[in-house]
């Protein structure tokens, strides 16, 4: 059987890739995708735990996370659309009206 540690490692790597993507990309859409990446890494580890711990809680949690991720994407994109209507900007360094 595949050791649990492998799943943990995989999940950690994808999570950090998501973090890095979030930090370095200028495009808000890609940042949103990076967040989805992070959430998916969490899902992977939760499903793996669920399997190895013989407990369903992890999978139930994943179900909720997917739900929330969908809601989050909908709202995030709605905000982006609202922003886009006022100012055709999808890059974070173009929306620095407020600072200091």
């Amino acid at each position: 059987m595949v050791p649990l540690d492998w799943y943990i490692g995989l999940s950690a790597v994808i999570f950090v890739i998501g973090v890095v993507g979030f930090i370095i990309r200028r495009n808000i859409l890609i940042m949103l995708m990076s967040v989805e990446l992070m959430l998916n890494s969490v899902n992977i580890s939760l499903v793996a735990f669920s399997h190895y711990l013989q407990d369903l809680r992890g999978q139930i949690f994943v179900f909720f996370i997917i739900t929330v991720a969908a809601a989050e994407a909908a709202i995030g994109l709605a905000i982006l659309v609202a922003l886009f209507k006022n100012k055709a900007a999808v890059h974070t360094d173009e929306i620095t009206e407020m600072k200091g």
Binding site: R26, D93, T96, E97, G100
Partner: protein, 641 residues
């Protein structure tokens, strides 16, 4: 509701109503609320006095604000004989001044504001005298100071008024600084803030010393002197007396209420209240007695040559306050408070009379430009005369009994007592002289002002004269509660105060008392007589004297150059340091250097820090990630070890 609580609460309610609705709804009706409130307080104060006369004392905490260990911040009332008298003084004078102000302040654009401040002041003063703990005293102390600041600078458009307000505020800071330290020291050494606890424990401090810069200083003396510092500031004693004469820039009712009858006597009240502490330190007592005597003499001499009617009365106040401290210093606290009580009436009357004169003279204050006012304003004249007779110490009037009690008890108090008695008697003569100088110059003789002013002369409205008459009754009769045994009285007031303030035991015979009494009567009558010769019979004498003793005259005229001295030793060096040294240090930015230096440095730092907040989303995420990274590193290293 608790009736004692209502005493300070009513003026507070009046203040709140007037300050909130005064500008819009109430406007010219502001006085009704204020007067009704203080009338209510007065009525309750009278009923409280009756209870106290029947032997009841009240001491309880109304409300605990913060309790944290032995640090208890509470609002509580201690109503004993001392407080009961103070309540009567404060509420009655305040009531009369309120009524008087209806006429005096009529038509002023800050009418509602004036009454709001008066109410606030009354509230603060009542809190001060009714408190049963040090912090409440301190609160009242600062609050009356603040109200005084507002009221002196009431006509803030006038520069001299706002300057005087600032001066009063700053000079009082010096005194209050010492007072504050005194309060802290009492809490630190005794762990108590309530009077009863303090007085119960203060005996344990006896003999303890504290080492300051290598000198062993008696702890009780130190505490007493620190408290006295506050009294010196608030009651305008030497060397902090300079603010009071300037405070006359405020409206006259304010001078009468705050700067004659009530607030300035808070220092005397405080010393009397803390008599268990003062009595334990002979040094402190002597300092109090001498400060009082010197101030009294000093201020009386200045008053001799001033021409501004309110200034003369102001110096007279300083002088009389000195009298009260003199009394406290010789252990005659009861006599001091008795004088405080009689003084409140005749001095308030003098101020209000002066205000009435000013009203008629369209703001003129110089007595040289007055004269013959007697026939134009008879009520003012007669009441002013009664007040002058009372302050001069003519037998039968209020001032006589209280002043005589002080002099007699001082006379019986050892060497120091004899010295201050002599000074006190001299002051009595001087007081009579300068008081009647006003009478003769302002009310008798020919009018010396302009025609326009003469045409305008009139008696003041009823709202002003009625308080004068009531106060005149007080100036006559207030002293009758203290007729000494030597004159066949029972000296009721001394016995009344005895449980709280004690009473020095005097064994000397009545004959000796008559002697002391006669000397002061002779001094008073002599003063009046000389004044009559100088200012009525032969008006050229003062001018010749002034020319002959030019040095003395100018010294007195310039109030012993104290303001100039302070200007020289405090203000100028400070300015010099500021403009020379600090400018050199801070590149011409004096204010930034002192006041804004540190904040500016922080601001500069903030401005730099602000650059980090770029508005760029990623930078925020990076900051979060860095924060996470740092915390992770630190914690994992700490745990991994």
């Amino acid at each position: 509701m608790d009736k004692y609580l209502l005493i300070p609460l009513l003026p507070l309610i009046a203040f709140t109503i007037n300050i909130i609705f005064g500008k819009g709804i109430i406007k010219e009706r502001a006085h009704w609320i204020a007067i009704l409130a203080v009338l209510g307080s007065f009525a309750i104060a009278v009923s409280t006095l009756i209870e106290v006369l029947n032997g009841k004392t009240i001491n309880y905490d109304v409300y605990s604000w913060i309790v944290s260990g032995s640090f208890k911040v509470t609002v509580g009332f201690l109503i004993d004989q001392l407080t009961a008298i103070m309540l009567i003084v404060v509420t009655s004078v305040s009531l009369l001044v309120h009524i008087y102000s209806v006429g005096y302040m009529h038509g002023d654009k800050g009418y509602y504001r004036f009454f709001a401040y008066l109410s606030l002041f009354t509230f603060s003063m009542l809190m001060l005298v009714m408190g049963n703990n040090l912090l409440q005293l301190y609160f009242g102390w600062e609050a009356v100071g603040l109200c005084s600041y507002f009221l002196i600078g009431f006509w803030y458009e006038k520069k001299s008024a706002s300057d005087a307000g600032k001066k009063a505020f700053i000079v009082n800071r010096f005194g209050d600084f010492g007072f504050g330290i005194g309060v802290i020291m009492i809490f630190l050494t005794l762990g108590a803030l309530h009077y009863t606890d303090i007085f119960a424990k203060v005996g344990t401090l006896q003999g303890q010393t504290i080492n300051i810069l290598g000198y062993n200083i008696d702890l009780i003396t130190l505490i007493a002197l620190l408290l006295f510092c506050g009294a010196v500031g608030k009651s305008a004693q030497i060397p902090l007396h300079v603010w009071l004469p300037d405070a006359m820039e405020g409206p006259t009712p304010v001078s009468a209420l705050i700067h004659a009858a009530t607030m300035v006597t808070a220092g005397v009240f405080m010393v009397a209240r803390f008599n268990p502490i003062f009595s334990l330190s002979e040094t402190a007592m002597n300092v109090v007695a001498l400060t009082g005597a010197i101030t009294s003499l000093f201020a009386a001499t200045i008053a001799l040559v001033q021409n501004d009617i309110k200034r003369i009365v102001a110096y007279s106040t300083v002088s009389q306050l000195g009298y009260m401290f003199l009394a406290c210093g010789v252990g005659a606290y009861g006599a001091g408070v008795f004088h405080l009580y009689t003084h409140a009436y005749f001095k308030a009357l003098l101020f209000l009379g002066a205000g009435s004169v000013m009203h008629a003279m369209a703001g003129e204050l110089d007595i040289q430009k007055m004269g013959g006012l007697k026939k134009h304003m008879p009520v003012t004249y007669w009441t002013f005369l009664i007040a002058s007779l009372s302050i001069a110490g003519i037998p039968g009037l209020a001032g006589f009994f209280s002043k005589d009690e002080i002099l007699w008890l001082a006379y019986n108090h050892g060497t120091i007592g004899k010295i201050v008695w002599l000074m006190g008697t001299a002051v009595a003569a001087l007081t009579a002289f300068y008081s009647f100088r006003i009478i003769f110059m302002a009310f008798h003789g020919k009018f010396r002002g302009t025609h326009e002013q003469e045409h305008h002369l009139h008696e003041s409205p009823k709202a002003m004269t009625i308080p004068l008459i009531i106060l005149a009754i007080g100036a006559i009769s207030a002293g009758w509660v203290g007729i000494p045994a030597a004159l066949g009285g029972s000296n009721a007031i001394a016995h009344f105060f005895e449980p709280v303030l004690g009473h020095p035991h005097v064994t000397a015979a009545h004959e000796e008392e008559f002697m002391v009494m006669s000397i002061s009567i002779v001094a008073a009558i002599g003063g009046i007589f000389v004044s009559w010769i100088f200012y009525s019979l032969k008006p050229e004498i003062p001018k010749t004297l002034a020319a002959k003793f030019k040095g003395i005259y100018t010294t007195l005229w310039n109030k012993y150059y104290v303001d100039e001295l302070y200007g020289f030793i405090i203000v100028r060096p400070t300015k010099w340091i500021a403009s020379n040294i600090l400018v050199a240090v801070t590149d011409g930015k004096i204010i930034e250097g002192i006041v804004n230096g540190v904040p500016q440095a922080i601001r500069n730092f903030g401005e730099r820090l602000r650059k980090l907040q770029t508005g760029h989303l990623q930078h925020y995420a990076v900051s979060m990630a860095i924060g996470l990274f740092v915390i992770l590193t630190l914690v994992l290293i700490a745990a991994g070890r």
